[in-house]
Subunit: 336 residues, 2 copies
C-alpha cells in the first residue's frame, strides 16, 4: 500500500530565459501536499514530459497558450499512478495521463486526468506515440497538410518525438516516399530502420543540398518541426500545389531577435502552395480517431518510437535544455 505523502517537490520558473535556457531559470521547491477536495485525485507522477513547445511558454508574450508565470510551478504532460481519489470516476491504482508535470505529486480534478490502458503500451507511451506527439504527427499530416496517397513527404526534426511518428504514419497512409532530416549520423541510421526511405544529417551539409539528394524530383508535403533554413529549402523543393504543415520551429525557439522569414515565400504564388500552422489542441475531434488507429498499428508492430530517459526530477531542467539541443532520439522523458 502506498502512503500519502505530506510534502512533495516541484520546479518553478525562477526567471525567463534570454536565448537558450539554463539551470538558473529553474528552481526546485518543496511544497505541502494539500488535502483532496471532492472530485480530486492525487497522482504520484512516474514519468514527465519535456517538449519543445515549453520554451515558448517561458517567454512573456501573448499567445494562445498562456505563458508560464515566474515563481509558479511549471506544467506539462505526465503519467503516474493514482494514490488517493475522491472521485468515483478514477480509482486508486489507475494510471492516468494529465497536464501537471514538473512535480513528483499532482493534485487535480479527476476530469483533468485520463485513465490509460497499460496493457496496450507502457504508461510512458501516452506521452509519446499514443499521446500529444503522436496525435500532432497525425493531425499535421492529415488535417493540416492534407497528405494524399502517392505524395512525397519531407519531415524535419525527423528523429524527434513527432518526426519519428510522422514518418511512419505517412508511409502507413500511403505516401510514396518519405524523407527526413536529423542532426546526427546515428539518428539518420535510426530513421532508415523505422521505415524512412531516405534521410540526411543537416549538420553535415546545407539543408537545400541534403534535400535535393534525398528527393531529387521534389516534394508534395513538408512537415516542419524546425523552421529557418529547413522551411526555405522545402519551399524551393515543393511541387505544384504542395502543402506545408507548420508545426514547430525548434531552430528559432532560443533566438533573441525575430528571425527573417523564408526569402522565397513568393514561390507560393506560382506553385499554388499552402502553408498552414497548427497546434494539436486546435483539432480535438481527431484525438479518438488517432488513438484507435495508433493502438491498432502498435498491436500490429507497424508503429514504433524511441524514448530517451533521464532519471529524477532534479535533472528535468537539464533534460529540457538538452532537448532543445537535439540530445534526444524519439521522445525525451524524465523518470521520477
Amino acid at each position: 500500500m502506498t502512503t500519502t505523502p505530506t510534502s512533495t517537490r516541484h520546479f518553478v520558473l525562477a526567471s525567463r530565459p534570454h536565448g537558450a535556457p539554463t539551470n538558473d531559470n529553474f528552481r526546485l521547491e518543496t511544497a505541502e501536499v494539500p488535502d483532496l477536495s471532492d472530485g480530486q485525485v492525487l497522482v504520484r507522477n512516474e514519468v514527465m514530459s519535456v517538449d519543445p513547445y515549453m520554451r515558448g511558454r517561458m517567454n512573456d508574450v501573448k499567445s494562445y497558450v498562456p505563458p508560464f508565470q515566474i515563481d509558479a510551478p511549471l506544467e506539462g504532460g505526465a503519467v503516474g499512478e493514482v494514490i488517493a481519489s475522491r472521485s468515483d470516476d478514477v480509482a486508486v491504482g489507475s494510471h492516468v495521463v494529465h497536464g501537471l508535470g514538473w512535480r513528483e505529486h499532482a493534485v487535480l480534478p479527476a476530469k483533468g486526468a485520463t485513465v490509460v490502458d497499460t496493457d496496450i503500451a507502457p504508461a510512458s507511451a501516452y506521452l509519446g506515440l499514443l499521446g500529444m506527439p503522436g496525435l500532432t504527427a497525425y493531425v499535421g499530416l492529415t488535417a493540416v497538410a492534407e497528405m494524399r496517397e502517392g505524395d512525397t513527404v519531407f519531415i524535419s526534426g525527423a528523429a524527434g518525438a513527432v518526426g519519428q511518428v510522422a514518418g511512419q504514419i505517412a508511409k502507413l497512409l500511403g505516401a510514396e516516399r518519405v524523407v527526413g532530416s536529423a542532426g546526427s549520423a546515428e539518428k539518420v541510421e535510426r530513421l532508415l530502420e523505422l521505415g524512412y526511405d531516405a534521410a540526411f544529417n543537416y549538420k553535415e551539409k546545407p539543408v537545400a543540398e541534403g534535400l535535393r539528394e534525398v528527393a531529387p524530383d521534389g516534394i508534395d508535403v513538408y512537415f516542419d518541426n524546425v523552421g529557418g533554413d529547413h522551411l526555405e529549402a522545402a519551399i524551393s523543393a515543393l511541387r505544384l500545389h504542395g502543402r506545408v504543415a507548420l508545426c514547430g520551429a525548434v531552430s528559432q525557439y532560443n533566438a533573441t531577435e525575430a528571425p527573417a522569414g523564408p526569402r522565397n515565400l513568393f514561390q507560393a504564388i506560382g506553385k499554388g502552395l499552402t502553408l498552414r500552422g497548427f497546434i494539436v489542441g486546435q483539432y480535438p475531434q481527431l484525438a479518438a480517431e488517432y488513438r484507435a488507429k495508433a493502438a491498432g498499428w502498435l498491436a500490429e508492430g507497424r508503429l514504433r518510437g524511441d524514448e530517451t530517459f533521464r532519471d529524477g526530477l532534479d535533472g528535468a531542467p537539464q533534460a529540457f535544455i538538452d532537448l532543445l539541443e537535439g540530445a534526444n532520439t524519439g521522445k525525451m522523458l524524465v523518470r521520477l
Copy 2:
C-alpha cells in the same frame, strides 16, 4: 470596311530589367502581317493590358509561366475587333479577348480568342472587371482564402485592378468589414466610394499602424497583392484560423535581392493560420461561375471598377513602368 494591313508594329523585350524596368528594356519593331492559315483570325487590337505579373516574366527564371524571351514580341491580354477570319467560329466584326497584346495586330488561332459581349460592358472590361483581374479577386477570396460571411477582410493594393474588385466582391459575399491599403489620399477616398468600410494610405504611416487603426479587432482574411511589410502586418493582425491569399508581391517585383520573408511567420502555428498562394490559371473551373455572377452584379450596378487609360502603343512601356509605381487607379490599359 476595314482593309487588311500589310505591316504592323509590336514591342519586343530588348533586355531584361535589373530592378525597375526602363524604356530601354523595350524595342518597338515593325513586322509584316502574315497571311492567315486555316482556323486563324486577324485581330486589330483596340486596348491592351499591362499587369504587374509581367514583371516576373521579364526575369529569366524558371516558373510556371515561362519567361519572355529577348528579342521576341511581348505578350499579354488585349481586346480588339476581328478584321479577317478563316474560322467558322469567329466572324469578322466580332470583338475578342486574347493573349497577344503589346502589338497593334494579332494573328492567332480562333480557339485562342474568346468572343466578348459588348452589350454587357465595353470591350475593355474584359481585361479588368470581367477579365483576369476580376476572376483573380473572386478566386482569391473564395477558393483560396475561403472567405466566410461575417469575416473582416483586409486587401492591400486595394486601388489596383484586382483590389478594387476584391473589396466589392468581399462585401457582396457577406464580409462584415472590408478594409484596404492604397498609396495616396485620392485612392483611399475612391475606395470608400466603392464600398470599402475603411482604408489607409500606407505611404503616410507604417502598415501595422494603419491596419490597427482600420481593423482594431483584427482580421480574418488577408488578400495580399503587395507582400513585404504588408504581409508581416497582416500576419500579426490575423485572428485564430485566419487565412491569407498570396496573390502578388508588387512591393518586391523590382527587388534585386531576395527580400526577407515575414519575421513573424511563426505566429501561423499558434493561430492556426493558412497562407495559400495562387495564380488565376490554377482555377479554370471558376471562370464561368465568376463571369455569370459578375455580369449580374454589373447589370445591377453593384460592381464597378476604374480604368486608367494611356494612349498609343508607343506609350505601353511607360504605362507598364508607371503601373509598378502605382500610377493607376483600377485597371491600367493602353488604347491602341
